[in-house]
Homo-oligomer: 203 residues x 2
Amino acid sequence: MASSDAAEPGTVRPGGRTARVRTAVLRAAGDTLAEQGFHALDLAEVARRADVGKTTVYRRWGSVAALVADLLTDMAEQSLPRTETGSLLDDLTANADLVRRTLTDPRQGALFKAVIAAAMSDPRTAEALHRFYEVRVAEWAPCVREAVERGELPAGTDPAEVIRAVSAPLYYRFLTTEAPLDEPTATRAAHAALAAARAGAYA
Amino acid sequence: MASSDAAEPGTVRPGGRTARVRTAVLRAAGDTLAEQGFHALDLAEVARRADVGKTTVYRRWGSVAALVADLLTDMAEQSLPRTETGSLLDDLTANADLVRRTLTDPRQGALFKAVIAAAMSDPRTAEALHRFYEVRVAEWAPCVREAVERGELPAGTDPAEVIRAVSAPLYYRFLTTEAPLDEPTATRAAHAALAAARAGAYA
């Protein structure tokens, strides 16, 4: 794509050139983060890799932090809808397995490592990462809310805390050990969160 | 301290000059990490800050990754012994509160952010960080083992997994939300881990 003819955001239909530019730039940013980490991210290099004009990238994103924030917004928008099995244990297990598959996927796992690392030192990236998890937790919270309504969990159980309790041991294992994130680990995370919720730990 | 007269490692008594040099260098490395992050760490600058000769620092640590690995070894050695209350819930709550206080301490919290970020991109730092958590988990695991022996938890419960289950939600909250790591959060982490352990989730 040429360097200076991209339309301003919002001036073309979704799916048009603006959307194609964003897709290409975010893909290039994600690839760079996954392969080389946050400190290797550079707007000019992302533009080159995306085959998009530098001017477009500078005008539209302006900074590496803004680009990563937009990438995280896109990841939240693109991420999978929750499973609805009608069984809370099965829903939580599906959630745990989705987290497990994301963190063990070579590109996605490396990408998450890069954005978590970036969030440790850059407040704007931290804010964007926190919003990403808010969106994901909000997507899955209804399965807990419905279980509370069905009387399967104590009244007053905080649905978001139960969803976070499923992810927490998987991320902790990912960050602090060499141990593999395998299916039994994901299943155990779902069982543990459910047992604690039933005992009223999140009420 | 002068730059070229430090003894070789192991040639002076513990508490002598070698130990004093290590203490000063690790303190300077920790301060730099906490204030500026991993990417600001530089052996020459650490030597200057520690008032230790550059030659000594280069000879003894050789690389930034080796220096951070030694800092993590020292942090594991210096960290507090477990609490022994005789009650598993009280022990787990003390553990949760120690993790909470560490992560919310301005210097320690920033230092953990820096080493977690470094571990995301540097395998040697990751290995050192994993060893740090292994040491900490091994320090606290006996309170769970003893509770299993007293019959308070299902036979076959994995003590290390219960200890990790206490820390996991605290680290997850620290990394993925703006929410404060307060005392009720620590207490809830201990209660949730205990409830899940009682239900057999870690057996």
